[in-house]
């Protein structure tokens, strides 16, 4: 059994006991080494060894033979899915909070009722859906104040898209923000206090919802 510089120290018996049905036994042995180096749980190790018999040498490169394994993909999913705004595509785009969008769309609808002389100009279905969605989620009485308060977070490195997600979600605590926007977790120590302050300031600006518990 070859031992590489990574210093695998597995008892020989466990390696022998794992069945290897593949012809490329050398490959699977190398694969096992790489996986064990990851220090996964014993359960995962056995799963890796079964799957790696079939996997290609890419497992060796990655050091993480998790492509074929459902369990491993679940553990990858536990790394939370981060909000990925394609910055290149939307360079000139301004992220709108639902409240801001509701105001703009309501203004357009009001204009359309004035300009309804031309019967061929009708507002499309997606407009009405967008307007009702924005109005349902427009949670603040004063959108501009909310925008100003949340923009103060920009100096701590929060981007536009993250600010919009925070505003739309109406979180109660900073913990909720970090759970919903995982990309901010790396700056948790810096952001926690300013976030708590900002959330406290915008809380009274929320519209009182009679149906909420």
């Amino acid at each position: 059994m070859e031992k590489n510089g990574k210093g695998v120290s597995m008892p020989k018996s466990s390696l022998k006991s794992t069945p290897s049905k593949d012809d490329s036994s050398q490959k699977s042995k190398e694969g096992r080494k790489v996986q064990f180096n990851n220090g996964g749980s014993p359960e995962e190790r056995f799963d890796y060894s079964k799957s790696n018999g079939k996997s290609s040498s890419s497992a060796d490169k990655g050091g993480n033979g998790s492509t074929a394994n459902g369990k491993a993909s679940k553990s990858k999913e536990k790394e939370p899915l981060e909000l990925r705004l394609d910055q290149d595509r939307l360079k000139n785009a301004k992220c709108l909070m639902d409240s801001e969008a509701a105001e703009i769309l309501q203004g357009i609808q009001d204009q359309m009722t004035l300009l309804s002389q031309d019967a061929t100009i009708k507002l499309p279905v997606s407009f009405h859906k967008g307007l009702s969605y924005a109005q349902a989620n427009a949670r603040y009485t004063n959108t501009h104040s909310v925008r100003r308060v949340l923009d103060t977070l920009k100096k701590h490195g929060v981007v536009d898209g993250e600010i919009s997600v925070i505003a739309n979600a109406c979180p109660e605590t900073a913990e909720e923000v970090f759970a919903l926007v995982p990309s901010l977790k790396s700056k948790k120590s810096i952001l926690k206090e300013p976030l708590e302050v900002a959330l406290m300031v915008i809380k009274p600006l929320r519209k009182v919802d009679s149906t909420s518990v």
Binding site: L81, M97, L123, L131
Partner: protein, 176 residues
């Protein structure tokens, strides 16, 4: 999420529209052509908010049509992976449930619904917790996270999850 963005489009205009009202005709044609459409890059164009610039028209060889490059501002709605949205449930079945957020359809598979929620068939199919405290049925409001998007010619379709923290039912229509 809503965005306010500047887009550019080449509009072709038939000579019958030339004259005093050329610009108005151009703008109304733009609105008819663009509002309500959907693209993979920008999402749904919900509404045009203004015209920034109309360039010089170029006559096309062989026809009398003229092409004008038009820059316009519009509100678009585009969902992103990782985004948190609040959606209204439209249909529930044993594979999961469909929900709507604005013009976008979202499907949440039963694999991405918390394990303690079971499907209950009947007149009003729903997902309920074992103690009956939380129910997801038609017209329920749920907070979900988008984990994937797909764009068709005319609509965007998303896959979502409610299996993470702070996600799930916000408003049960039966408890009012």
């Amino acid at each position: 999420m809503f965005f306010h963005i500047v887009l550019e489009r080449n509009m072709q205009l038939h000579p019958r529209y030339f004259g005093r009202n050329l610009r108005d005709n151009l703008v109304s044609k733009l609105m008819k052509d663009v509002e309500g459409t959907c693209s993979g890059k920008h999402g749904f164009v919900v509404a045009i908010t203004g015209i920034e610039n109309v360039g010089k028209g170029l006559i096309r060889d062989g026809t009398g049509f003229v092409t004008f490059p038009v820059k316009y501002q519009c509100v678009v709605f585009r969902p992103f992976k990782g985004e948190i949205l609040e959606a209204v449930v439209t249909m529930v079945n044993k594979m999961g449930f469909f929900a709507e957020a604005g013009p976008v359809q979202i499907f949440v598979s039963n694999h991405l619904i918390p394990d303690d929620m079971e499907f209950q068939s009947g007149d009003m199919p729903n997902y309920t917790t074992s103690d009956g405290s939380v129910k997801i049925q038609k017209d329920s409001e749920v907070r979900l996270k988008i984990i994937g998007t797909r764009v068709d010619a005319t609509e965007i379709f998303c896959i979502g999850t409610i299996k993470d923290d702070f996600l799930g039912v916000i408003n049960d229509p039966t408890t009012t």
